[in-house]
């Protein structure tokens, strides 16, 4: 009986339309957050069938995850080993980095917005990251110019060794990234999937070993200063700018602080505090996407850029 009362009370909380000033801030927030998720659950007619708004939104937000593989398709169909040799690391490697960041972005966005309709994108971008990383490693093992056979091409340098480790770690995640494996592994599934944090850390090592900590000056150093922005093209700087947001919003004290402010109805304070960190994330991420688009288009037209 008591349970039934609690259940109906909870349902009331979610469905009730609060009159201004009559309900507390907590209920208003809860209602607002559930409204977006509920709105996304509504069907609409499309070509004689009914589709959920959420499904359409997820498809549209998920399509960019295919871009890195799409960019390499012409080179694959024409077996253009030169394009693979010169630009697969930039196209699929950067693509894997983008997908990793988008995968890691989902949890912080849930923390901030309280919405859950976009959570399936975490799995999608995780799978796309794995496909890009495996594709990159496979192509590098065949077409790279490093000595030492397949293993030499994959792990002959310390930075490629880091990439190799990342690819190895991504394999169990890809294999168990499905509901069946989730059911079978039970409580160990979440533990296993924390390997993503290992991949995130190894990416930092990979980029530091690849480009160092400095940036290009004149014709020396990493990146490409041709456009006058060598700092923005330094991959480790881009990584750091993106990671600050993704890392801070995962820290339990920060999550608790955000939850407490939301409970007080002071969401504006959360947004104001987060804004500079999110701006920094966007600042770094835009240049990662810039890299992907330009190198990707070069790969797509099979005129690979070795910059």
């Amino acid at each position: 009986m008591a349970r039934s009362t609690v259940g109906s009370r909870a349902l009331d909380d979610l469905t009730a339309t609060p009159s201004p000033g009559a309900e507390g801030p907590q209920l208003q927030r809860r209602t607002a957050k559930s409204r977006v998720d509920e709105w996304m659950e509504v069907d609409f007619k499309f070509g004689g069938s009914r589709i959920k708004r959420k499904a359409l939104a997820l498809v549209l937000l998920g399509i960019p995850g295919l871009a890195p593989l799409f960019f390499m398709t012409p080179a694959l169909l024409t077996l253009n080993s030169n394009t693979f040799s010169v630009s697969v690391d930039d196209t699929l490697g950067t693509g894997a980095e983008i997908c990793l960041f988008l995968c890691l972005l989902v949890s912080p966005m849930v923390t901030i917005t309280g919405q859950h309709w976009f959570v399936p994108l975490r799995r999608w971008y995780g799978i796309m990251m794995a496909c890009c990383a495996i594709g990159d490693a496979t192509a590098a093992s065949i077409t790279d110019t490093f000595a030492g056979g397949v293993f030499g091409r994959l792990a002959g340098h310390v930075f490629t060794l880091m990439g190799f480790f990342m690819t190895m770690l991504v394999l169990p995640l890809l294999a168990t990234g499905n509901p069946w494996a989730q059911r079978k592994l039970g409580k160990y599934w979440k533990l296993l999937h924390r390997l993503i944090y290992g991949i995130w850390g190894l990416l930092a090592a990979h980029l530091i070993l690849l480009e160092g900590l400095g940036f290009q000056s004149g014709s020396d150093g990493s990146g490409f200063a041709g456009d006058g922005d060598p700092v923005f093209h330094q991959r480790f700087y881009q990584y750091s700018a993106c990671s600050l947001f993704l890392l801070l919003l995962r820290l339990p004290p920060v999550k608790r602080w955000i939850a407490a402010r939301q409970k007080e109805g002071r969401n504006w304070l959360v947004y104001v505090t987060i804004a500079p960190i999110f701006a920094l994330f966007l600042f770094g991420f835009i240049f990662v996407i810039n890299e992907e688009i330009f190198k990707g288009m070069d790969s797509f037209t099979e005129h690979p850029s070795a910059e």
């Binding site: 200063a225 041709g226 006058g228 923005f232 339990p252 701006a279 600042f283 690979p304």
Partner: protein
């Protein structure tokens, strides 16, 4: 116990606030520095072009001046695969020139394709004025070599085909010399 829990929770809330505030301040400073740095992009771009020996004022309107680094990368992207493919085609011809007209012709036809591909790629690169004569000469030599190889491929007999060998080798050596010159200039 409740008091201890509340104190702990307050402490965690405070530490969370401090962490996020510190992160926010650092991020704000970095974004501001980034914007200030971005304001100098134009000047740095001109300096980078000038450092690469490429005068922005001389480049065609609306077209970015190509730096030496970009030029090298563009050239290598066509020269390296062409070199590798030609080496394979020449080996194919050497293996069949004494006994099979069909195989020798196929190898020579492949050579013509490789030479033409290299020529097309070379013509698409915009070289700086100082390098244009060398690049044009290399393009002419490559076209001449492709024409000669095509004539050789049309030969009806192996003897007739082999009679082209010396001339093709000489033309090929000219192309190789031109390629070396370009690499030296880059």
């Amino acid at each position: 116990m409740t008091q201890t829990y509340s104190a702990g929770a307050r402490g965690q809330l405070t530490s969370g606030g401090v962490i996020i505030a510190a992160g926010s301040i650092v991020a704000a400073i970095l974004v501001l520095l980034g914007l200030v740095y971005a304001a100098g992009t134009g000047a740095r771009h001109q300096a980078a072009l000038a450092a690469a020996g490429c005068e922005p004022g001389l480049s065609p309107s609306g077209q970015q001046c190509t730096t030496a680094q970009m030029l090298t990368s563009q050239y290598l992207a066509i020269a390296t695969p062409a070199d590798q493919q030609l080496a394979a085609d020449v080996a194919g011809y050497d293996a069949s020139e004494m006994h099979s007209v069909a195989a020798a012709r196929a190898a020579l036809t492949a050579q013509v394709v490789s030479e033409n591909t290299f020529g097309t790629g070379l013509a698409a690169i915009t070289f700086p004025p100082a390098m244009t004569p060398v690049a044009s000469a290399l393009l002419r030599d490559d076209q001449a070599l492709a024409k000669l190889t095509a004539q050789q491929a049309r030969s009806a007999s192996l003897t007739r085909m082999r009679s082209f060998n010396r001339r093709v080798q000489a033309a090929s050596a000219t192309v190789q010399a031109g390629m070396k010159l370009i690499r030296k200039d880059l």
